[in-house]
């Protein structure tokens, strides 16, 4: 009980911090960094639903992000609609993709599933890069100067910031619900052992597919907001493998399969990225990548379960009995 109220208090403090952040640090650049952070957290949290809770490490989530990013700019290009109107279309395309990709690939396990998702995502990237209606290799762009409020081309970064914050809140709320729902327990059980879960009557493939669809829908929504904010997408920035990899790194760094993990990962990684690029990027010495890679390496070596493990261990020193990770707490 005390634990639960403490967690609730923590979340409340975090939410309050996120809401006032742009008002405390009102520079356009800081707001943009904050928005980037929220985007990273939201996509990582969306990936976390299938990659973390269900343990199905997808390395092809860029296809959902890309679908979300392309559709708004496509409806703008074709019919001059405000880009944000493409968001639901992006979700529909992503859900269809999730079913098409999920049905055959969920027969595969472990690395084979990851490899299959990479292959599909790269295939989509290559097809898009040669598809003339999708701007081929040059990409699509939105309205550079807005025709009205509905185009969402703000000079101030504030509206984007709160849009991304709302999205993150939705993903986290869904994850929170998932954690305590029957589906959540099924997912964690099939992550622990798919065979055991199946023999206990867990509808494994249906659960995986549901989780993938949920994950895809949120990833796609994040992609749409990204496209609306950036006003541009090309195959590399929308569908490139680095897009998928970033979601995984952020989630894994903080702690995959936990509610707070993706947020923590983004809280560490994005400021680190920005700081190293601000101070060392201009020299072009590549120090940005060295520091960034070094940090990831250290965490992978010493805290492979994600930084959240470290937090729980530290807390365990003071409290008894010591829960080693969030999911064991929920299982208890």
């Amino acid at each position: 009980m005390r634990n639960a109220s403490r967690a609730a208090f923590g979340w409340l403090a975090l939410a309050a911090g996120a809401i006032v952040y742009p008002l405390v640090l009102p520079g356009a650049f800081y707001i943009d960094v904050g928005t980037t952070l929220l985007l990273a957290a939201a996509t990582a949290a969306a990936w976390n639903i299938i990659g973390g809770y269900a343990g199905q490490v997808s390395v092809g989530h860029a296809m959902f992000f890309g679908a979300g990013a392309y559709l708004p700019l496509l409806v703008y290009k074709l019919w001059q609609w405000p880009p944000i109107a493409g968001l639901p279309f992006g979700i529909v395309v992503s859900l269809v993709l999730a079913v098409l990709v999920g049905m055959p690939t969920f027969r595969l396990q472990g690395h084979y599933f990851s490899m299959a998702t990479i292959a599909v995502a790269e295939l989509i990237r290559l097809v898009v890069a040669t598809a003339e209606p999708l701007g081929a290799a040059i990409g699509l762009q939105g309205p550079a100067v807005g025709r009205g409020v509905w185009d969402l081309t703000f000079r101030s970064g504030l509206p984007y910031y709160y849009l991304f914050l709302a999205l993150l809140a939705m993903v986290l709320a869904t994850s929170w619900w998932l954690q305590r729902s029957r589906l959540g327990f099924y997912l964690r059980s099939l992550r622990a052992s798919e065979r055991a879960a199946r023999s206990l009557g867990v509808p494994v493939r249906r659960c995986k597919l549901l989780a993938l669809m949920l994950s895809a829908a949120f990833t796609s929504a994040a992609g749409s907001l990204y496209a609306v904010k950036t006003g541009f997408v090309d195959p590399e920035s929308g569908l490139g493998i680095l897009v998928s990899v970033q979601m995984i790194i952020v989630a894994a760094l903080g702690g995959a399969g936990t509610l707070f993990g993706p947020v923590l990962g983004a809280l560490i990684l994005i400021p680190l990225q920005t700081l190293t690029n601000t101070y060392f990027g201009g020299e072009g010495s590549g120090l940005t990548y060295i520091l960034y890679g070094g940090a990831i390496l250290l965490i992978a070596r010493f805290e492979p379960g994600g930084l959240l493990d470290l937090v729980y261990r530290a807390r365990g020193l003071f409290a008894k009995p010591a829960p080693s990770s969030e999911q064991s707490r929920h299982a208890a």
Binding site: G139, A144, R155, S237, N277, G286
Partner: protein, 416 residues
């Protein structure tokens, strides 16, 4: 005696105080976005060195550089000798990061002008930020034709773009026909990403406009390890000129494959990039004798202004100035000229001065016909030289006034 010393001290103090006053003209800050790491790091780094040479030319007195505006004075004379201050940022080729960094340069670093951004994708996003904030953005080198023409008022592009190259090729073919060379049809072979596609499209459109038959257009992937099928297609169609829009390893592969299949068209015209790569001539120079290429940059004869600029760049990097970096250097110089005429760091005044830019051929270092922007911000006088591989280097052969040696047609290694 004492009074004398006091007076001297006072004088000294006065001089010390006056010194900063004399330089009180604030520096003009130029924020430069380039890929300094990542895939295109080499190009970004080379361009950075070129921008620093431009800074040196403007900030210090270089009377030896005849004709180049602002070379013989130190700083910008109309702004009390204000210096150029360059703030470099690395967008890593990531359009979203480029957008964020443009914001940072404008709001944190308070730069007066933006410059960049190499990859067209990054130019798309960063110029949109500049447009929203009303800060002039000068594109040194991004060739996507739809960068201009978005109705932007703060965007200026000095470099020639795909359509300029395409038109130059057509003018060249016309000249060749007048000299009695037979050009019945051309072929376009382009790598299938952003660069190859846009240049290929532009050439195809220009050919159509000029009634030049395109026998075949072959898009291919630059990472192909075998291009014999493509070369056989070419041999089948027998075009008089084959235009390659290729990167490095693939342009080398094409030259080797044509040689192995015993087919070399009367003329091969490379569109810069792979054909200009430092590794092209050592790899296939002997079997590519007579290949043509484009370049807006020519080092020129010893003692010429361009030669001296190249020496400055060489002292810094140990390499000759390449076409891409030279275009960026020219972009910086054209920008500096506008800044000086603006006489102020107010965005509106800089924008107005940029609009009024009118540099003559003798005032620039590139093979352009000048620098003058149309209402979309594109330099309408941008153009290119055509060069031909003779021995171990390319020599300018077209237009005639820039040629150092007569053109050889068909090329030496032709076999069809």
């Amino acid at each position: 005696m004492r009074g004398n010393r006091l007076a001297r001290l006072l004088l000294l103090a006065g001089a010390l105080m006056a010194a900063p006053l004399a330089q009180a003209a604030d520096a003009v800050k130029i924020g430069i976005l380039w890929p300094l790491t990542g895939n295109a790091a080499a190009a970004g780094q080379a361009a950075k060195a070129a921008a620093e040479v431009a800074q040196d030319i403007v900030n210090n007195a270089h009377p030896e550089l005849k004709g180049i505006p602002l070379a013989d004075t130190a700083g910008l004379p109309n702004m009390g000798g204000a210096k150029l201050e360059l703030v470099f940022v690395d967008h890593q080729g990531n359009p979203s990061l480029a957008q964020q960094l443009a914001l940072r340069l404008i709001t944190q670093d308070k730069v007066h002008v933006l410059f960049g951004a190499y990859q067209s994708s990054c130019s798309f996003t960063s110029t949109a930020v500049a447009e929203r904030y009303g800060i002039p953005f000068v594109i040194g080198d991004s060739a996507a034709s739809n960068l201009t023409g978005r109705g932007f008022k703060w965007l200026f592009r000095v470099t020639p773009i795909a359509t300029d190259f395409a038109e130059a090729y057509m003018r060249f073919f016309d000249d060749m026909k007048k000299q009695g060379k037979s050009i019945r049809s051309i072929a376009i072979v382009n790598e299938n990403t952003d660069y190859g596609t846009s240049v290929g499209d532009a050439i195809e459109a220009a050919a159509k406009k000029n009634n030049m038959p395109v026998a075949i257009r072959i898009p291919y992937s630059a990472s192909s390890s075998d291009v014999s099928a493509q070369v056989l297609q070419l041999r089948d169609k027998q075009p008089d000129v084959v235009i390659f829009i290729s990167y490095t390893s693939d342009s080398i592969l094409y030259m080797r494959t044509m040689r192995n299949l015993d087919y070399v068209p009367p003329m091969v015209l490379g569109d810069d990039s792979g054909f200009s790569d430092p590794s092209f001539i050592p790899a296939v120079g002997d079997i590519a004798q007579g290949v043509m290429n484009r370049s807006s940059w020519d080092i020129g004869k010893p003692g010429s202004t361009t030669y001296k600029i190249n020496e400055m760049y060489k002292a810094k990097t140990g390499r000759d100035l390449d076409d891409t970096s030279a275009r960026n250097l020219q972009g910086m110089l054209a920008l500096a000229d506008a800044l000086n005429r603006a006489g102020s760091t107010e965005p509106e005044k800089i924008q107005k001065a940029l609009r009024e830019t009118d540099l003559k051929p003798e005032q620039i270092m590139m093979g352009y016909r000048g620098v003058k922007y149309d209402e979309t911000g594109q330099n309408v006088l941008a153009s290119t030289y055509l060069i031909q591989l003779k021995g171990k280097q390319y020599e300018p052969v077209w237009p005639e006034k820039a040629a150092t040696t007569p053109i050889q047609w068909p090329m030496q290694t032709a076999k069809h």
